[in-house]
């Protein structure tokens, strides 16, 4: 990666850090494309396309109407411009809104029937073989013993879910895990009750567009008191050219339940920007807990900013019940442009929201990401830890909001965002909004580009460490804390991030 090699690196930034960032940005491992015959809807978006997508998914009338309502609204809306990102105007009529592998038209009955190209795709993406069989939609593979730890996977390929694993085993525990299109058909009462209840149809430009044209995504329902027996995950793959991916995820954790959900995403290396506008809604009822982890690794574009995914995502959790808890963890390394704010509405008393984020931008990448913690219930707690690393000519912005409603007595927020710049051609920005409307709550916000907490340093130094050691310990421990928030399944990808020493962030 020539651009970084020529960059004057600030003194104190470890060569390993530079190398790690360079290695991550220089080559995109998942940039290959699968050549496969696809069914496309005609280019562009209009009411007929909305009906067509709804028809392809075999949706009931209420769902079609819901989509059409969203589409009518979307036509009246304008694209938001407040984020610190620049990209050429998107022509929403110059792309496909629906693309599905032809072979998925009839569900394959056995391994021999499965399109080998699809099999190959998942093999190359590193999905274990047992899962791969199931992923490709082979019936009966659920009963085959899985190797190692069980992770149920829903794999979304462009506009369709190609398979969901371990459904039968999960069903024994009462957990529903399927594609959203299947959920609309099989569990309409749940979908109707919760879809759009966290992110309303009218929420924002991209969410409204998603509401109109979303093609697939995952659905999870965990019944009262059930601890989901395995981790659930969705793997999103954009393959087709000129195609937008609009996935919709809805997770409901009923009273006293627990679920951990992982999300991964990749896309082929193409010269043209592609749009990805997802909506994720989480609902946590009384005493429920949802852990949602993302490793976002969409194709980021090349060194000159050619190509890459526009990642415009609305993610929100509603901690509806008392003592409910939601934890967002994200590792953002991909996408040309990221516009993403996983948020928590802390509605229930004593509910908790957490947000841990590492965002790395390099070359011409732009990320405007952060969170919102809206405290409505009493004694609600939130914690925000954000690390932004910017290199090349990238721009990395943390944008966050913490609101203490007058009713949210005795609540607590702690926010820490740190930024690290590598090279003199990038930018790191912090845009927090802090709104405190009662006095029994405490809000603390700290942001630095260079300092670690003085108290922690002082503590270490008073134990006889020199400053370097103390800083290394504090920063290291802090970074681990964020990474440890990730479930084991993402350890491999997270490993790359561990390699990035944050030592240079201490001036």
């Amino acid at each position: 990666m020539a651009a970084l090699d020529e960059t004057q690196v600030k003194e104190g930034v470890d060569q390993d850090t530079v190398d790690a960032v360079a290695s991550m940005a220089g080559k995109y491992k998942y940039g290959w494309a699968t050549e496969i015959e696809m069914d496309y809807a005609p280019k562009g978006v209009n009411e007929d396309i909305v009906r067509l997508i709804s028809g392809k998914n075999g949706e009931p009338e209420w769902m079609t109407e819901w989509r059409l309502g969203a589409f009518a609204r979307w036509k009246e809306m304008t694209e938001p411009t407040w984020a610190m990102v620049n990209y050429p105007k998107i022509d929403y009529q110059d792309q496909y809104y629906y693309a599905s592998p032809k072979s998925m038209a009839d569900k394959p009955k056995s391994l021999d029937d499965v399109d080998p190209k699809l099999l190959e795709t998942y093999k190359k993406l590193g999905i274990p073989l047992k899962e791969q069989m199931i992923l490709a939609g082979v019936e009966g593979a659920e009963s085959a013993p899985a190797e190692g730890r069980k992770v149920a996977v829903d794999a979304v390929f462009d506009s369709v879910s190609v398979g969901t694993t371990f459904q039968a085993e999960l069903a024994k525990a009462g957990v529903i895990f399927c594609s959203i299109s299947e959920a609309i058909r099989e569990h309409p009462e749940l979908v109707r009750k919760y879809l759009g209840s966290v992110v309303p149809v009218t929420d924002n430009f991209f969410a409204t567009l998603n509401s109109a044209v979303f093609s697939d995504g995952s659905f999870v329902y965990v019944p009262p008191g059930v601890r989901c027996p395995m981790e659930l995950s969705t793997y999103f793959r954009i393959n087709a050219e000129n195609t937008g991916q609009f996935e919709r995820t809805l997770i409901i954790a009923d009273k006293g339940s627990y679920v951990s959900y992982l999300e991964g995403c990749t896309a082929p290396q193409r010269d043209i920007n592609q749009l990805h506008a997802a909506v994720v809604e989480l609902v946590a009822l009384e005493d429920a807990e949802i852990k949602y982890s993302t490793v976002q690794n969409w194709y980021p574009g090349d060194e000159n900013g050619k190509g890459g995914i526009y990642n415009f995502v609305t993610k929100r959790a509603d901690c509806r019940g008392d003592r409910s808890k939601v934890m967002w963890t994200q590792v953002e390394t991909g996408s040309a442009v990221t516009w993403k704010y996983p948020s928590c509405i802390l509605r229930g008393d004593d509910s908790q929201g957490e947000f841990y984020s590492i965002a790395i931008t390099n070359n011409m990448q732009q990320a405007d990401t952060g969170t919102k913690m809206i405290h409505l219930g009493k004694r609600t707690k939130s914690r925000i830890v954000s690390k932004g690393i910017s290199a090349g000519r990238a721009q990395n912005t943390y944008r966050g909001q913490v609101t203490m409603h007058p009713r949210a007595k005795d609540s607590r927020n702690y926010t820490q965002c740190d930024s690290l710049l590598i090279g003199g051609n990038c930018g790191a920005h912090t845009v927090p909004y802090i709104e405190v409307r009662n006095n029994s709550s405490r809000v603390e916000h700290e942001a630095t580009t260079s300092k670690v907490d003085d108290d922690q340093l002082f503590y270490c130094r008073s134990r006889g460490m020199d400053e370097e050691e103390a800083v290394a310990l504090v920063v290291n421990g802090f970074c681990k804390e964020v990474l440890q928030a990730l479930p084991m399944e993402f350890a491999m990808e997270a490993q790359q991030l561990v390699a990035i020493s944050l030592e240079g962030s201490v001036g």
Binding site: L421, G424, G427, T430, S441, H445
Partner: protein
Amino acid sequence: MAVPKIKTDAAEARIAALQVPEGGGWITAARGDALSRLRAIGLPGRRDEYWKYTQPDSLIAPEAIRAAVFENDEGPMFADIDRLKVVFVDGVFDADASDDLAQAGLEIERLETAGQADIHWAKDLYGVLESHGQTPVQRPLAALNTGFARDGVIIRATGKAVKPVNLVYLHESDSSDAILHHCIKLEKGADLTILENGPAAARFNKVMEVDIAEGAAFHHVRTQGRDHERRAVTHVFARLGAESTFKSFTVTVNGMLTRNECVIELTGDDAIAHVAGAVVGDGDFLHDDTVFITHDAQRCESRQVFKKVLRNGATGVFQGKILVKKDAQKTDGYQISQALLLDEDAQFYAKPELEIYADDVICSHGSTSGAIDDEALFYLRSRGIPESEAQDLLVLAFLAEAIEEIEDSAIANDILARLEGWLGRRRR
């Protein structure tokens, strides 16, 4: 993007209620330019991002809302300090109450007279920093000021000023609507202190443009008067040359609405800019500190220290920004905004922003908000100090970090004594 009609309509309505001062010389063109700027951007509306937490309605309305004159039984501010007084009553210069400007030991004129000349050095300053400060964020009320201000002071300091200049703003009419515009130029190595005090008018719009040349030092201390019902919007625009210093401190108690904007550009290496504020708000009170500091040179230092004590529905707003341009290496920027909320009705809104394009910098900000520390209160009470007194002690301790930004200890002590007095009086 087209300017919303509601904003341009508001500007036209306000312009219609004002008269461009007559008989100007060089200043006529500057006023005309400002008027065009204002017409192009319109006045702030409720949906403006930069006015998210402060409703501009009463500041932009064609007529000022009446504000009763507050019966002030205290002695004048800064009375014990040897100073040159320049007095404005409801925005109108009062020659009798003012000291003789000729005796100042520095060049000081009134805008009204300076503006009538054909040629004047102030031409290169009046409206120039204001106009420059309109990007990246628009400040329409400052453009309005440049277009319509009749008076103000024009000061040029060449060496160390013998004494501070004290701008005194008296409020005597319930319906006064004052606009003042000051231009201050510090030549190389100059040193000047400006003191400001008083409520000024029912509604006050003030702009101060300060150009600080290499090695010069500018100190600014102001108290914004105790009239409960007054409203004010003020702007300070400062440009700093190499190794120069800018230090500004403001204390605000009372006032329905105050918006203090401070726009600083560090253009020379090794310059220092500090902006600080202490606020005590009680009841129907909104105080907004909006600060924008641009680092455009190397090894500069900037500090923003704002402390607000709020109760009975008082609202505090802080919008602070540090912008570090690409070549402003070795920048040291720090920003702290803290609110002490004394009861359930107080509110605090903060937007502390960093925008950094240089890699070798130390920039940080902190913002906290919460109630008084129960343990500290308990400690003081256990030492026999009554609760309300203990609370005041903790309030003063909380404000101390901001007050410490005042370099002159005599001025700092004067302000501290008054704060103690105000808190104590409330207790009784």
